[in-house]
């Protein structure tokens, strides 16, 4: 039939850019990275295939610890971001008047307007020992001398939460937006207290948004570089830093690739466990916007 052929042609035409994109920019490069990670350097310009890079990775506690540390901190950041974002998202979606909603949401996107670099830069200006916050605290007489607020894990967490919080707010707002106000009203009407309504109605309803926000935030955090590097203290190693180091200061692409693959596998595992625990699916949660 004519329409069948036309349909098939249309499908083909639509499939082509998709396949080119996903194939050339995602799938093949990742296959390439995996292959590269399996190359072991024996001598300058001499390689052979094997698991040596992974063995080296697993044998070196520094790398493993860094990976774990990155994961734990990322989870912490994710949890904090959720905690910080939820009331704000709820406010935007449910409490704010319809008119101010768009403006507030736009304001939430403020950090997106500038690069990581500028954000980190801003935090440095604010938090350094001779920075604004320290100065303000001294001026207020709250502290006797200058305080160093930079270069520790707490700062890294604050900076990371800052960087990612909007990726939590946006999905939360969009799920909460879809929630009929009358569900909340019904919750009260049937005798529920504020807490009951929150726990039994609002949070379960927002679950897809919570999960999708958490996934994106976790992945972004685990993959972030500048914030932990620039704000981090003496001991704060971030796993992406290791990857960059392998590639950029050690020019050891093979082990860098192995690190990258390990990071991907590990974080995917965390996400998979998260999806399992909450009974959600990647395609449906993340794509639901």
């Amino acid at each position: 039939m004519r329409t069948r052929d036309a349909d098939r042609l249309a499908l083909f035409l639509l499939l082509t850019p998709f396949v080119l994109w996903i194939g050339l920019l995602i799938v093949l490069p990742h296959v390439g990275v995996v292959l590269l990670s399996l190359r072991e350097k024996i001598a300058p310009r001499v390689f052979e295939y094997g698991l040596g890079n992974y063995v080296a990775f697993l044998k070196e506690p520094i790398y493993l610890n860094t990976l774990l540390r990155t994961a734990v901190m990322s989870l912490l950041v994710t949890a904090l971001a959720l905690l910080v974002a939820f009331p704000v998202a709820f406010y935007i979606a449910k409490v704010a008047r319809a008119r101010s909603r768009a403006a507030l949401l736009l304001l939430c996107l403020v950090p997106l307007w500038v690069s990581d670099l500028v954000r980190a830069f801003g935090w440095i200006v604010l938090l350094r020992e001779t920075g604004i916050v320290s100065g303000a605290l001294q001026a207020l007489g709250l502290v006797a001398g200058p305080v160093e607020l930079l270069y520790n894990d707490a700062t890294v967490v604050v900076g990371l939460v800052y960087t990612v919080v909007l990726f939590m707010i946006v999905p939360l707002v969009s799920t909460l937006d879809g929630m009929d106000d009358s569900l909340i009203e019904a919750g009260f009407n049937l005798g529920g207290s504020r807490l009951t309504v929150l726990r039994r109605i609002v949070v379960p309803y927002a679950m897809p948004g919570i999960v999708s926000g958490s996934i994106i935030v976790f992945m972004l955090t685990a993959g972030s570089y500048l914030t932990p590097v620039l704000l981090g203290g003496k001991t704060s190693m971030w796993f992406t830093e290791q990857i960059y180091d392998q590639f950029i200061t050690r020019f050891n692409w093979e082990s860098g690739a192995a690190f990258g693959v390990s990071l991907l596998i590990f974080t995917s595992l965390v996400v998979w466990i998260g999806l399992r625990l909450t009974g959600q699916q990647l395609a449906t949660t993340v794509a639901r916007r």
Partner: protein, 334 residues
Amino acid sequence: ETLRLLTWGGYASDEVIKAFEKEYSDIKVEVTLSNNEEMIAKLRATGGSGFDLAQPGFNRIKAAHVEFDIYKPLDLSKIETGRFDPIMLNRVVASTSIDGKVYAVPHLWGTSGIMVDKTKAPDLKDWLDLCDPKYKGRTSMRLARTILVGSAFAMGEDPYAAYGDLKKYQEIMSKVADRLIACKDNVKAYWRGGDDLSAMMLSGEAVASDTWDSTTFKIFAQNKNIVYVPPKSGAVGWIDSFALPKKGRADDAAYKWINFVTRPEIAALMGAKTGAVTAVKGGIDVMPADKKEAIKAAFTDADIANIKWAAVIQPGVEDIEGKTLERIKAATAK
């Protein structure tokens, strides 16, 4: 024609570029800022293309080239070698010759040592004085090979001599690592860029740090109390050189640039800008007065004699150093 320079911050100031472009109006200069490690990383990634002239430290050229095949030999006949300080030139040529071909000529040299705010830390004299508990939380370092090498010298070892013997080198580095880990509490933060450091020093957040002499000279202009101290166990000397990336497209322009910046008047301009000394004859003498003064104030002749000139890095050394640095970074302070 475009000359794509891969170089250090400050090595190709706008002033110099303007002067160059004025003279060679058909050449446009494009600068990518980098450092030793990234230069190699970039050239490795591009397979030696993408840049026409690179300026890595002379000691890191050979190993990188052997491993990644990223440079092409220089045609010394196109360079006015007569202008160079022969000692510097020989040092570089000797260290970067492979199979009789020369891969680099020197450009700027300087030393790494310690920057000290002399009003706040008058008695800080050697690398490991940075670990003096008196200055707890008030010193800084850059986690890079300089501090490793410097500390090794300060601990009485000779790391350069161990380059040929990786096992020995590993031992030295382990010791250094232990020492620096123990010192971690003393350090306020490890600096990464000149910016970090100058902000910390100028604001008084830190009183001392390891650094390049040139950086100190720049800061000296802002605060005369901040001076460069060549460490007792020897400053670490470095020479940044010129090398041609393997697939550079503008070799002629590159040679022109090399010959341009080694002219005395340009060398003076460079020196003023960077605080590093040009590897031309009488490099120090062409420096502007204040820089010359700073250098003279910093170095006695004995200090100059005591400079530990970087040795050529052998394959494998960087791995050991990298791991050591990671160990230090990851360790929790005691």
